[in-house]
Symmetry: C2
Subunit: 202 residues, 2 copies
């Protein structure tokens, strides 16, 4: 269902369907796929990432469906976020993570399927983890960079909702990285310091 925009704002009601098993959004939604080949530097162990690529070929780590709602104050943007299960070395599959361009804006995630964590981190490195599972809303306040990680055996599907004018800043975390990462140790998720913090690009 196409969105009717007038004067930079949504002018007419619309609906969209999200399949709760696959996370797929119907219709003309924008579809973003993030493959491992473009995420090598996002994982702490880049050698393990390259090795995974050699052994398994390029792999879909996460994907996002979103409707092209104008990025205006007063609109409510949302998407469907799907992070697949798996690990690079002992680090769980995850999204790149981002701040908002308008840093004080919040974001709420409604978890639809799977099991994981929302990893949140402030400028100074102060970090927080909240578990994600179906039926749970996780609220990410302004000034927190945030990423989803999948610690389960099925896709982690959530519905993130954020103010129209929040915007995305991926650059900061691509450059610097999160100070803390989540790895599997003895079959359980454990938070450790990121060995490549501050130098994610090399």
């Amino acid at each position: 269902m196409e969105i009717r925009v007038e004067n930079g704002r949504v002018a007419h009601p619309f609906f969209v369907e999200i399949d709760s098993h696959s996370g797929k959004m119907d219709g003309d939604a924008t579809h973003i796929k993030r493959f491992l080949s473009k995420l090598i530097n996002v994982f702490a162990d880049t050698d393990a990432a390259k090795d995974y690529l050699r052994r398994h070929g390029d792999t879909l780590i996460y994907e996002v469906y979103e409707k092209d709602i104008p990025e205006a104050n007063g609109e409510v943007r949302f998407c469907s976020s799907i992070t697949y299960p798996g690990k690079i070395g002992n680090e769980y599959f995850m999204t790149k993570g981002h701040f908002h361009s308008r840093p004080d804006t919040a974001e709420m995630y409604w978890c639809i399927r799977g099991k994981g964590y929302m990893v949140m981190e402030k400028e100074g490195g102060e970090h927080e983890l909240e578990e994600m599972h179906p039926g749970r809303v996780v609220y990410v306040p302004g000034y927190y960079a945030h990423r989803s990680i999948n610690i389960g055996n099925e896709p982690l599907i959530s519905l993130p909702v954020y103010p129209g004018d929040a915007g995305h800043d991926y650059e900061t975390m691509e450059e610097r990285g999160f100070k803390h990462i989540v790895i599997e140790k003895n079959g359980r998720p454990v938070v450790i310091e990121n060995p490549r913090y501050g130098r994610m690009r090399g």
Copy 2:
């Protein structure tokens, strides 16, 4: 889980659980219950409403759970909305409906359970209906008053999400009413003109 507020803004991540069967929100959420005795004038057939009250006693028509997120621009407010199945005369159980105090703000509804409609109406009476069922997002643009109606046999549960500074204007619709209402005719929902439009209070 209590919300930590600093300088009028959410200062710390939090989570909340919503039971997808009952719509109940856990913890210290604010709980609003709307009983028929306070909604007599909301239904087109006030005699039928009074009769229902006599025969069934006071009846819970809908309820809402919400977290006390500051009403500030940049926050993302949300609630759990539960409208019960039933009819007053031939008009389906429904919410009062409202505009936003900041009229240009949008609202998105994620439907969790049940079957119904989002009824939307602009100042001039231009109206729109979108079906609600699990897995569907209905987007209510700014300047549309909106109400949920339950046309099924189980609770209609949805997760409305809206900008922190949207605010609620219930007054306008309590006074004037929606120009169009939805009734059951031959077992099916039909839109008709509201016989009490413009004089809902008497």
